[in-house]
Subunit: 148 residues, 2 copies
DNA sequence: CTGACTGCAAAATCTTTGCAAAGAC
DNA sequence: GTCTTTGCAAAGATTTTGCAGTCAG
């Protein structure tokens, strides 16, 4: 895993390359994702940053804008929950898919080489130039199976 | 493939079982999905029904309510496009996944036994009781690759 | 008849945008 | 200084809800 300072440099380079500016808000959002394992909604990130840094100047719009920027540049990635919005995580890890518990919302990550390969083959078979793929398995996690 | 009258009976039975009523609006939405191959947004279904049956009494809320009902009962299924809403199709077909063109929006369906099996195995490995799964491959379809 | 269903418009969610002030370089 | 970024509040987009009238059984 990358250290924070390396990640930060990478981010600064990215900004410079695109003539974008390095701001406190952008850094805090990046730092938040780095320091917190897991998947967060823009709202959650906003609230937690406000709580951690009560004096910070930060608007929800900036969180959305920054997350979009991070995702577009491949630093973060998101899972979509339809109308219920998206959750973001640092996207530096190796590509992976998700198991999502429909009762408690727990998200488990996994990676399966067989599936990845088949996806490539399928795209090729349909003459599709694959840009991305997502897979979600919805179900009940071990803990929640007991409660039902 | 099921004939419409069989499907209709199935739907009526479902309604009866749940003490729900069989209405013209519900029937037209079901019929629309049956007669139209493809994936439609609630808005599209609403507009097209209004156009086909100008005298119909139908509100967009009813389309949403009915689609939710159809999906919950397994008669229809949906693909989510994040903020851009959902698209619905009759869910009677064998389970399948989707290739989606990021340029023109074309949706291609596919089914792959290998992937299905691996999904089962993965769920089992994580002690997950699988309820559903979705897989989307995003990319450029053959036609759109030429335009780029 | 009775309870479910409907359309409408208002409300709710999540996200984006316009704009003037603030900040990075 | 210049040009991007920010926060705010307003606007958008999609979906849901409250309610009084309507309809199925």
């Amino acid at each position: 895993m990358v250290t924070y300072s390396v990640l930060l440099e990478q981010f600064k380079t990215l900004l410079k390359t695109n003539q974008l500016k390095f701001t406190k808000q952008r850094e805090l959002i990046l730092k938040f994702l780095y320091e917190n394992e897991g998947h967060f909604t823009p709202e959650e990130i906003y609230m937690m940053l406000k709580q951690t840094y009560p004096d910070i100047n930060l608007g929800i719009a900036t969180v959305y804008r920054t997350l979009t920027l991070l995702e577009d540049s491949g630093i973060a990635s998101s899972i979509s929950f339809g109308t219920q919005g998206k959750k973001y995580e640092l996207g530096l890890k190796k590509h992976h898919d998700h198991l999502i518990c429909s009762r408690c919302g727990t998200i488990i990550e996994f990676f399966d080489e067989t599936i990845e390969q088949r996806q490539e083959e399928i795209a090729k078979a349909f003459d599709f130039k694959m840009q991305d793929h997502t897979m979600k398995i919805i179900g009940l996690c071990q803990a929640c199976q007991q409660h039902t």
